[in-house]
């Protein structure tokens, strides 16, 4: 009964500023959230992915990791979206089954919460509540941020996690001073790691913020190492804790995203073709339906189709047909005139090959089957023509440095058959590994010439029916995917006679064994494809260069009302953009000036405000730089919205610089008041601009052509004016 003796006290420490900011943030982002009930700009892409998630169909999007897409899909899940909507055109009206409000809710919430977080960050950086309030209000009224967070787009989510990472790091850093290893210390440290990996999980560019936080943490850790009041063990614990929280946890979280992603998307879909056979077989439907229940181990007498692992220019299977190579090519070189071997991108009965033991004559599987192992010598018999896969020292039709591959035809011209191939399982675990359907990646090494069977990637001319050329690569320069093949379809051959076998080849495969790829294998394949698949970067009407962003020389028209001239643009508050860029410059100059003066032992600032100034610069100006400068090196098509994370950091810097000027550069009270008045006037103008551009942000009001013309403050802005 001890608790009765002391009163139970709950002390709530509520910062009303934060509450108020959250409220206005929510108001600004959620107001009329479902309003343009039509597809706006990139919703057309993200919507497709949401639909895929709802239908649990596998897809591949090279633009970013799946976490962001999954968050959007979560909105659809909450709203009970069934995924039935054709996302084909910007401006299309949503049908009634699309829960627009729910779908847009999560980005809007992320955008709304960025407002109080801006407050918190500036506060945690050690600046006054006034400056913190200023930062939050600027984030609140920034039109571009409002537009971007009210739609099914990922930038606001990315910004949210970027800010969260910085904020929780600051919280962690501040608690480091008083109470290391306390509960809140652990909490914020872990949250930093989590937020970082979420940011990376939403978009790859989140990695820059992650690196920044890592960098700052590394510098602080380095100071910690130099702190000789701590024992070695203590320092080691500190370092380990940081390593776990900032390296291990993010990596694990990142893997978790993919795990959930792959667990959710279990059905085959339109992007299957890009993936390997093994991956496709792990999806429901599609290839899995065909390959379901095939025998796992390839045996002598097996009938197989062999798919090339490279898959460029198109995924294809080893193929042969009755036609022979022309005696003389166009270039005047000669050929062996034997039967063509090609790689064919469609399923065909001519893709079937039989694995034969050179020492025996039979083409059927024994009972029990004798499996083929790594290093075995085999012959490959073309199922339909019963000719042997052969290569010899004759130049290939299009790649004269390589050998021609043919199905051997004996013309009795003292050109013997060279049809022995040694099996080389590339991904073997032991040297006695058995050749497995789908799972084994194999190379065929020619016994006589050491050439390796390879897809050259060139299209044969008309005589080869425009199929892909297959060659024997004489000089193998290490591993290359174009030399690797895997068995896709497989069955045990039963018929010895040619006629019966042909019938057998025409019938579909059967029988039953299930097989699964491990998660890590699927993850690494998917991640690799995502990074390497190139979507052809085409020029976009609203694409821009990084230089256009700093002073807002460009905009993006997101949506236009089908009848009136109400429209939504990604258009920033130009006062804020310009002054934020100016503030960054002022910061850089002041920083340089102080740094040089300090070097000459002139200390303008007290030590603690100097450290605050440096930390604010490292996080805000640094955040801007890491989120902006890398775009100069990127070759993909860039848009204004890529700048928004950088802009957010820049906005945070603005009140910091103001406060610094007021506290340290204004010498008298009068100057300080004057400066304060200036800042207030400036802020009023920013509010005014924000309000003026509001119709383009929310798209709620149709403006007359003259009003629209008046809004076109820069020639480079593209505001849509209807011609009546």
């Amino acid at each position: 009964m001890g608790f009765l003796q002391r009163p139970v006290v709950v002390t709530a420490d509520i910062n009303l500023n934060v509450v108020a900011l959250t409220a206005v943030g929510l108001l600004s982002r959620l107001w009329q959230l479902a309003y343009p009930r039509a597809v706006v700009f990139d919703e057309v892409y993200y919507g497709q992915y949401i639909s895929f998630y709802m239908k649990r169909i596998f897809f591949l999007d090279s633009s970013g990791p799946p976490f962001g897409h999954m968050l959007l899909a979560l909105g659809g899940y909450i709203g009970g979206f069934d995924g039935n909507f054709l996302w084909n055109r910007i401006g299309a009206e949503y049908s009634s089954n699309v829960p627009v409000w729910c779908l847009r809710l999560l980005p809007a919430l992320a955008g709304a919460l960025s407002v109080p977080m801006a407050y918190q960050i500036v506060w945690e950086l050690g600046f006054s509540p006034c400056a913190a309030m200023g930062a939050a209000l600027l984030v609140l009224i920034e039109n571009a941020l409002v537009t971007q967070s009210r739609l099914m787009l990922l930038e606001s989510v990315l910004i949210f996690f970027d800010l969260l990472a910085v904020l929780s790091y600051l919280k962690f850093f501040n608690s480091q001073k008083h109470r290391p290893f306390s509960l809140s210390w652990w909490f914020w440290l872990t949250l930093t790691g989590m937020a970082c990996s979420c940011a990376v999980g939403v978009k790859y560019v989140g990695v820059f913020t992650y690196l920044l936080v890592l960098g700052v943490a590394a510098v602080h850790a380095w100071h910690l190492i130099g702190d000789q009041t701590l024992s070695n063990v203590c320092v080691l614990c500190h370092l380990l804790a940081r390593a776990v929280a900032l390296l291990v946890i993010p990596a694990a979280t990142y893997l978790l995203f993919f795990y959930v992603h792959l667990a959710l998307l279990c059905r085959s879909g339109p992007h299957d073709q890009i993936m390997s056979s093994a991956f496709q077989a792990s999806l429901e439907g599609g290839l899995a339906r065909i390959t379901q229940g095939q025998p796992l181990e390839v045996a002598y007498g097996s009938q197989v189709t062999l798919k090339n692992a490279f898959g460029k220019p198109v995924p294809c299977w080893l193929h042969s047909h009755q036609s022979t190579y022309p005696v003389i090519y166009e270039s005047g070189r000669g050929s062996s005139h034997q039967q063509q071997v090609t790689c064919y991108p469609f399923k065909d009965v001519n893709n079937w090959w039989i694995i034969k033991d050179p020492r025996r004559h039979q083409l059927v599987v024994n009972n029990p089957p004798r499996p083929v192992r790594h290093g075995d010598i085999v012959q490959l018999v073309h199922g339909m023509t019963t000719r042997f896969l052969n290569t010899h020292d004759v130049a290939a039709p299009l790649s004269p440095h390589s050998q021609e591959v043919s199905c051997y035809v004996d013309y009795n011209i003292s050109m013997p058959a060279q049809n022995l191939w040694r099996l080389d399982i590339v991904n073997r675990e032991s040297d006695a590994e058995v050749w497995k359907t789908i799972l084994s990646e194999v190379r065929f090494v020619h016994v006589n010439t050491s050439a390796i069977l390879k897809l050259s990637g060139a299209h044969l001319p008309d005589w080869g029916f425009r199929q892909l050329e297959v060659v024997g690569e004489k000089l193998s320069r290490g591993y290359h995917e174009s030399t690797v093949w895997n068995v896709e379809e497989h069955r045990y051959g039963k018929s010895q006679e040619q006629k019966e076998r042909e019938l057998e080849l025409h019938s579909p495969t059967e029988s039953d064994i299930s097989r699964n790829l491990s998660f890590m294998a699927r993850f690494s394949e998917l991640q690799w494809r995502m990074l390497t698949v190139r979507s052809d970067d085409s020029e976009h009407k609203y694409s821009s260069t990084p230089l256009d962003w700093v002073m807002l020389d460009t905009n993006i028209a997101y949506w236009l009302h089908p009848r009136t001239s109400a429209q939504i643009h990604l258009l920033g508050n130009i006062v804020i953009w310009a002054s934020a860029s100016l503030a960054t410059m002022v910061y850089a100059l002041l920083f340089l000036w102080y740094l040089l003066r300090r070097r000459r032992k002139v200390y303008d600032l007290p030590e603690d405000s100097w450290l605050r100034w440096v930390l604010a610069g490292a996080l805000c100006a640094g955040g801007w730089a890491v989120n902006y400068l890398p775009f100069f090196l990127m070759e993909k098509t860039l848009f204004l919205y890529h700048y928004l994370p950088a802009l957010t950091f820049q906005i945070l810097l603005l009140p910091v610089v103001f406060e610094h000027i007021s506290n340290h550069l204004c010498r008298s009270q009068l100057q300080r008041s004057l400066f304060g008045a200036l800042v207030v006037a400036w802020f009023a103008s920013a509010c005014h601009v924000s309000n003026t551009l509001r119709p383009l942000t929310y798209g709620d009001r149709s403006l007359s052509p003259s009003e629209l013309k008046a809004l076109r403050w820069k020639d480079s802005w593209d505001i849509l004016i209807r011609k009546y």
Binding site: I225, G226, G457, L475, R477, R599
Partner: protein, 904 residues
Amino acid sequence: MSFKVSFSVPRPAATPHSRRCWELQFLEPVFSRARPARPSRSVMLRATSRLPAARAATTLSAQPRGRRPAPRRRRKELHFPGHPELPLGDFLAGRLARPRVPAGRRAILRRGRMPPAVGRGLAGSELRPRRGRCGSQAARAVGPDVAAEATARSPKRPAPGSRRFEAAGRWALLALVTLMSFATRFHRLDEPPHVCWDETHFGKMGSYYINRTFFFDVHPPLGKMLIGLAGYLSGYDGTFLFQKPGDKYEHHSYMGMRGFCAFLGSLLVPFAYLTVLELSQSLPAALLTAALLTFDTGCLTLSQYILLDPILMFFIMAAMLSMVKYNSCANRPFSAPWWFWLSLTGINLAGALGVKFVGLFIILQVGWNTLSDLWHLFGDCSLSMVTMGKHLTARILCLIVLPMALYTATYAIHFMVLSKSGPGDGFFSSAFQARLSGNNLHNASIPEYLAYGSVITVRNLRMAIGYLHSHRDLYPEGIGARQQQVSESSVHLCGSRAKLSAVTEPAVTTYLHKDYNNLWIIKKHSTNSDPLDPSLPVEFVRHGDIIRLEHKETSRNLHSHYHEAPLTRKHYQVTGYGINGTGDSNDFWRIEVVNRKFENRIKVLRSQIRLIHLATGCVLGSSGKILPKWGWEQFEVTCSPYLKGTLNSIWNVEDHINPKLPNISLDVLQPSFPEILLESHMLMIWVLWPLPIWWLLYELLGLHKCGSQISNYGNSGLKPKDNEFTSKPWHWPINYQGLHFSGISDMDFRVYLLGNPVVWWLNLLSIGLYLLSGSIVAVAVQRGARLPAEVEGLSWVLLRGGGQLLFGWMLHYFPFFLMGRILYFHHYFPAMLFSSMLTGILWDTLLRLCAWSLACFPLAGGIHAVGILSLLLGIAYSRVLGREASAQVNLDPLGEGLDSAQGV
């Protein structure tokens, strides 16, 4: 075994006399602290003169010896008998002991130049020197150590004669290294007696200088000029054609050029040797580096042919060496050697940049070094701002102004020497071509302003090599409308291709050289009357006019419409349309002058114009993409609906024919030297850099003439296939695959560029080891560990010297990951030089540390000696093995054909 115990001592700042006093005073304690000297071992104490002078003056003196003379740091050093290290140590000790600068001045100079890592490490135990703690005090501060050093030498003071002998030994060693290097590089230099790999380009360009024929290349001219000069001096007459790899030289004298490259390539080894010696003050380290480079097959091969790489590497290494030398002069600013090395650094930088743009990386390294140098000077409050200003000015003069002047001078010479028309003309503007004798524009004259009826050629400003071009071929089916292609074109006469077809709408592309298919007639949009009719008055074309452009050869109009362009899907297709100049309203273009200042007329060569399609509002531009074979691999021309003001959509008028107008001489419009400089740089960096190399090769070999030839050469392997000749940067350090220098299948002599695997893998291992050991040392220092003097000196070498080299390696390696261009193995070699130097320093330091930590065992002293010797022998032996292996490589059935390419 000789056993040596020495003290880390700053540069002595006392006169001989005072030193002797200290000597007497400290003789006893020194001996008592040192390991008890057994009679069998000769105990020698010596100054840490192994550290470079500057370092000794900076780091070590920063220790609080002045205030606390007692805790002197001990340093054991183990030597193996007969090793050259021994004489060197004493030699240096002797040299450094000589007073050169008055004590007071030295004390001032040494301040504030503490290297950051060590500085922080020491900061735990002492404060930075304050203003006023100068002069005699400082002299006293270093005094005891001077004494110790003197004491160290006292037991067996070397006679002046033996010192001279040691100096001679040191020089002899350098001479030996140089000799080895020369011997390996010049051995069988004349083989193979045929053109190897890129010799076909650089040899040819050397010949161009001798013949004074104008050409164009993506690299700056200095390297090729030097090759040309070497050829000229050695009696090569410039008549050999260098057509393709494998061509026999026969009677032509090529040894001069090869010899020149081999000479520069041989100098790399002594340069690396000296650099390492300067950074680590350790002969074994320097020897190890020299051995690595001497016995590396890759360096050897790359130095033996007429290539830019040996020249480039020469300048890079020379810049590095002179930078390091200049760093060690830092305690005597504004002295003659200081100026000498500083300006030599600048000169070498200009050289490196003048050979290839890769030289930029060494510039970055020197720039970074200079900045950190200035930063330290700036923190030294005893230097007045005026002195700082002097320092700054000296660096600006020597490292910025001087290199820029030299770099510009190479271009001046380049343009002066190449005065005859040649294969590079077409890349340049007509105004420039007018300078070249033999060009048909030489002394030409053209009308100044455009009038209706003028026949013109139009050149794109961004793709400055492209002219608006059209020919009779049609866009193939499925690509927009079947109309005549419009492309940018060059001076190739492809008009003769007989592929006339009866289809009404032929096709438009940009094509690169001048031919009759580049000619267009300006017509008014409204009338089709012949404007050249003498009865009509001359009417000038003005800004904002609506015009038609009629293709002279095919009499079709420049036309655009709402069909997607063949490659850039979002742009509109541009075609030639109409019969005999009669088309439709889609043939109308509004002409706009972008840079009009006073007048609205259009001036030849100078006016920048845009052509805006009247019906669709799009702007005529080049997309910079290369059309497939059906478009003869010319650039695509599109009409872009996005009216962005990029140079892609800006054109200027090059040739102009109008009999009704008076001609002015082209000389009036001739560009000034800065303009030429700008033009050629724009071409090199902006236009040609992003183009695929095979395209450039066609251009340089003059293959872009007609389609049939292209297809022939296309098969011979000029065009890189997906996975064949290209190598990726991560292949390089692991020596993954080499490069065929001369590998035509019917020749018996093959050359294959591949590094010595032992050397390369050792280098790779060393980088990993360096990172590991460097971070351990850095953490230890940051933790405030009190290192013994010996270890401290070594870790300083590791951090400072090794750090510089690692930085150099990273600078010369990592940027390649960002380059979208096709890369080759030989691009790694500058980085490889740095990593070999790092290897030398690392192993020497690590072995010394090993020996030190095991000093209690009797044989520990041998570890260093044995380690270094075994490394040296291992490397040399691997070379011998490598020779056999390379013989096997030669037997490999490689037939890559024409495996040539121009590197970055």
